[in-house]
Symmetry: none
Subunit: 199 residues, 4 copies
DNA sequence: TATGAATGAGACTTCATTCAT
DNA sequence: AATGAATGAAGTCTCATTCAT
């Protein structure tokens, strides 16, 4: 990467950081380009040298945030099979407790709301999710030797997003009492025990 | 209720229906009052005879949708204890499949996003959630005779919102394979089996 | 006057009272018909049975207020010539002190501002002023036997409106110290002493 | 001042000139931003780069006009004591005759009306008035050696605003005949002759 | 590369007035 | 006589985007 390119990349990150900030604080459609420019210490006009329009910034943010979430899932690769449920529970509870959730609530609800109206955003979110699921399903199938790996994967992920969502609706959520049930739930999902096929 | 009051109520519903429509299609902040008025077959100005401002419409929608969600939970009261997990699973899967989810995705993401910036919206959402939890916790404690009813309640609800959320990120979600795991998960959450207290 | 006419007149007064209230509080152009109707305990639509439009209400208010001001000047007719300056001074100071000034500040500034843009309002104000001046000039000429009665009249009235105006710009105005100078000024204006014709 | 700052200042003046124009013609609340923008040869939106809102423009106009009025009073500083009453009379009559009155009628009535509903406007007007009075009182006390300088000052200013006001109510005002009485009045106000303290 | 002045469409909201009842 | 629902134009203000410098 040339010096010019490096500088360009740094400027882009500056804009994205500012944009993420504003999006969290005001939402996609209330965050003005002027405000973003100000926080990125850049003129409004200049942002258009790096992004075609605001939509492109939103897409870039969605992409970056989704990628970061995926990264956080990558660490589960290294976890001992026997400990997977426990570690995942810990991570889920932890991230909720620190409000740095994988699904960083503020931005995430915004993203999911947008994803229903903006096909590009939907594509980005779904692509990253597919990537995470592929990793996790691989883990579940190959390392844990379980069947129906895709379904188990989705059920595991239900717990993550469900928990984040829950905290918004019940801010008094008692994490201390949840943690045991959450581990039990994850263990159940990862249990080889034959399940009567539903429906 | 007088004729005038009935008419007034009907007009208000007209506005709310139109608003819900627009909010689903465009989101809270992209749905213009002009568009809402048009769909409500009413002049923009006249909407202000029924609602102080757009915020009030948003609040009313959030309230109405949350109340409807609560209603859907009310039916669980009548369910046989032994069947609760199965019935809840069925409802969760069903509502997802029919896209009439308790957490009607489109509007719900919007609501949760808003809830982080608008204290009034947060209060409404949390009030309804508390009401649903009180019902469910009562069921779990009194009819099922389980301890930690609040935590189990929250975990049950994690499944509902988590599943809805999942569908947005993975539109190819294989519901047929999920249903068994979901029932197993709910049964696990409602199982009296002692759980090692977490963390 | 028939019963119907009396009732009609009463309703009109109701509107005017409400309008005067609102005009003082919000100004002509910020006082909405809805607010006026509410204070007049009448529906907005019904006001149009008595007044063609808002302009007509403004005109009626200007007329009524000007007439009341004229009435207040009428009492000077009965005053002993020797006491005229003193009594006028007293009235001027009094009305200022009680904020019920002849030129009831709130409404009066509004009226004078309007009078420069609305010929009908101008005509009303000037007609009443002419009436007051005619009375006063007659007093000055016939009872006090002074020359240049019109000019003296205008100078007397300069004191009234000037004082009201002053209070707006200097709310700390020390009336106690003004009163002496005001009497002296009025005496000077009413003094027969030959004045070198100016300019 | 940099070129940018100079340009900015010029643009602001452009807006103020246009606004003053519109305010005189239509009044504060009838003068639309669109009209002001048009006369300032600027887009409506751009005005908001210089002024936070319309209120701010009104405040700026009130400030500018009041400052100009104050300036006009400053010239009296240089006047020979013996000539003060005569010069002030001349200026009062002159400014009335040229309709460039210190209290430029059109705008001034508007300002005084506003001042009763807008505390910021009131503060501005009263601040400038205090400044003018301080100058004049100093003149009266130090150069003319008179007592009760504040009261005399206020009485002098009663003449200015009273005269402007009078012209609105009596457009046929005979200035030629007023001038003598006005000089006499001002002389009387500035006369050292002991006055029986009133009330 | 960088600025920030400038635009103009469109957002929410108010309000005088009309009209069916 | 009386209501108040209803209209729609106009008001203030915001904001994504462009462009001269």
């Amino acid at each position: 990467m040339t010096g010019g390119e490096k500088r360009r990349q740094a400027r882009i990150e500056q804009v994205l950081d500012a944009a993420a900030d504003c999006f969290v604080e005001f939402g996609f459609h209330r965050a003005g380009m002027a405000k973003i420019a100000e926080r990125a210490r850049m003129s409004p006009g200049h942002i258009y040298h790096y992004f075609e329009n605001k939509e492109a910034i939103i897409a870039a943010i969605v992409d970056r945030e989704s990628a970061r979430a995926a990264e956080r899932f990558a660490e589960f690769d290294a976890v001992d099979s026997a400990q997977l449920a426990t570690v995942m529970t810990e991570r889920a509870i932890e991230s909720i407790a620190q409000k740095t959730d994988i699904l960083q609530s503020a931005l995430n609800m915004e993203m999911l709301a947008e994803c229903q109206r903006n096909p590009e955003v939907a594509e980005i979110i779904q692509r990253h999710d597919r990537y995470i699921r592929d990793q996790l399903a691989h883990l579940i199938h190959d390392k844990l030797g379980l069947d129906r790996a895709e379904a188990r994967t989705d059920m595991m992920m239900v717990q993550f997003s469900g928990l984040a969502n829950r905290l918004l609706r019940n801010p008094d959520l008692d994490l201390k009492n949840i943690v045991g049930l959450m581990r039990q739930t994850m263990l159940s999902i990862l249990s080889p025990a034959p399940v009567t096929k539903g429906e």
